[in-house]
Amino acid sequence: MLQKKICLLGAFGVGKTSLTQRFVSSIFSDKYLTTVGVKIDKKAVDVGATPVSLVIWDIAGEDEVSAVRTSYLRGAAGYLLVVDVTRAQTLEVARAIQSRVATEIGDIPFVCLLNKIDIEPWDIAEARIEEVRQAGWTVERTSAKTGAGVEEAFAELAKRIVG
């Protein structure tokens, strides 16, 4: 079976681990437990008629003192860039990470996930979302809590990877 490595990147606390757990195990916990280092999971999906085994790297989030190690993306076929819609600054962190990955790794497929859409109020204006869309980003709206948009987001990235 075709095996592809993908990574989840983003600021700390945006829900990368919750999205992975929701996608791989269909579970969600409200308790926030920070990720140190890396967690790797696998899940098989079908892209059209092609079965693909996704090796999912859930990488510790970026904060003010430690940046995401782009070397972890070596060999990755694509990545999910996760943003917390209730914290506007996480979109800026995502933009910085995307820029660094493009410079150091190259233009590999990615999908931006606006996560926690079940929580009001949003801190990100529609105009800002439209701005990144105009910049060529594929944007999906997700909730790891309710599961909304999660399968679709991973499927979208898999489709772009397999081409």
Binding site: G13, L33, T34, G37, V38, V55, Q89
Partner: protein, 410 residues
């Protein structure tokens, strides 16, 4: 000349011991992957990491997912820090290229990971809390700005309303002044006529009047339009003017029932904004001391007979008749009454006798009659005294309805 490294310095026996110690403390495990990315060797504490069902001679990436995409190595050595293994233990994974093969060394870092996670968790929790606090403060400030703006707009609206209110109040006062100017002056001969008119805070629907029809006949009337406000006052003044100027065609103003019948035709409520009124109209014939009168739903005037100094005997000038303006086909019937000497006739509106007390009870007709029948102290104004008593009974200066009363003293 550079100093020798510690590996060069240490005797082989010591190096082996150090390696043994590290291996024991860090649960050292290892893999060797060849250039075809096939797992060729493995050893050490594999069970500690849950890596037990592996086989050499097959793809490394299929059995060790963390190698996917990393082989061949793009840099050496390469380290994946704190990787969660299938057993739940945390390992630092070191990659070393050695000729055609790659060595992968696993060292247990669970304790360090847990400690780092504890510190990081606290730091992130604090950061998230302070971010949330900052957002809340921002929202509060925005709400405060909005409230301040709303408060300012409210104050501006209030000022504008106050201006409008004052203007309307002034106009109401002007209207009240006009209504008052339509009322005739009191006189004392050949009999005493006096009155008191205290409109409620808003303009009311009471008005009254009297005039000589000829040398012998004296007409008097009091009407009360339903409701309050400018509309009621306008109708009241119009009806009053009709009577004062005797502006009813083919109507004998000496005949109270003819007057009310004609008034009822002219002032039907569907032509007057659904307003109707009560009225008492009487004509006093001086030579015979006869009062002829008719009523359209109005409270019966009270005649108090006897000297002022003593308690009088009460007589009601009753007459039946529906409220004026409600039924187009109505015939009012007049009554007559001979007025005795030393008597006082009071004509009034319902607001004058229906007085609410602070405890919720009302002054009834009998109570009002009793008050009017009391002896009148010499030198005092009977109507002013009545108003003072009514206000005291009501418990406040402002009455709920117009206070209108006429007194004829014979």
């Amino acid at each position: 000349m550079t100093a020798p490294s510690i590996e060069q310095e240490l005797p082989a026996r010591v190096s082996e011991e150090v390696l043994r110690l590290v291996g024991a403390q860090r649960f050292l495990a290892h893999f060797v992957v060849d250039e075809a990315q096939v797992l060729v060797r493995m050893g050490g504490e594999l069970a500690h990491y849950g890596l037990t069902d592996l086989a050499t001679g097959t793809s490394a990436a299929d059995q060790l997912p963390f190698t996917e995409g990393l082989l061949p190595l793009f840099e050496t050595p390469f380290l994946i820090r704190s990787l969660e293994m299938p057993s739940g233990r945390i390992a630092d994974v070191h990659f070393f290229a050695d000729g055609d093969v790659v060595w992968i060394i696993l060292l247990d870092m669970t304790a360090e990971h847990d400690e780092a996670q504890l510190v990081q968790q606290k730091a992130y929790d604090m950061t998230l809390l302070s971010e949330r606090e900052a957002r809340l403060i921002e929202q509060l400030e925005a709400a405060n700005t909005e409230l301040t703006r709303a408060h300012r707009e409210l104050a501006e609206s209030r000022d504008a309303l106050l201006v409008t209110h004052n203007r309307l109040r002034q106009e109401l006062l002007e209207a009240e002044k006009y209504v008052r100017s339509c009322l005739p002056a009191p006189f004392e001969k050949p009999f005493v006529v006096d009155w008191l008119f205290v409109p409620t805070t808003e303009l009311g629907g009471d008005s009254f009047g009297y005039h000589w029809l000829d040398d012998d006949h004296f007409a008097l009337y009091l009407l009360d339009v339903c409701g309050h406000g400018v509309g009621a006052a306008l109708l009241s003044v119009a009806a009053n003017q009709t009577l004062r100027s005797q502006a009813l065609l083919r109507t004998d103003f000496h005949d109270p029932e003819a007057v009310l019948n004609a008034m009822n035709r002219v002032y039907q409520m569907e032509r007057h904004n659904d307003m109707y009124f009560t009225i008492w109209y009487g004509v006093y014939h001086v030579p015979t001391r006869t009062m002829k009168y008719a009523s359209a739903g109005h409270p019966a005037p009270i005649l108090v007979c006897g000297p002022r100094e003593g308690r009088g005997e009460v007589q009601l000038l009753n007459a039946k008749g529906p409220i004026l303006g409600m039924l187009p086909i109505t015939r009012y019937v007049a009554q007559t009454f001979v007025i005795p000497h030393e008597s006082r006739l009071f004509v009034f509106s319902d607001g004058t006798c229906e007085i609410g007390r602070p405890d919720g009870s009302m002054l009834d007709q009998n109570g009002f009659e009793e008050i009017l029948s009391r002896p009148v102290p010499a030198g005092s104004s009977e109507l002013e005294r009545l108003l003072a008593m009514v206000r005291e009974m009501h418990g406040q200066e402002t009455l709920e309805d117009d206070f209108s009363i006429m007194k004829l003293e014979f």
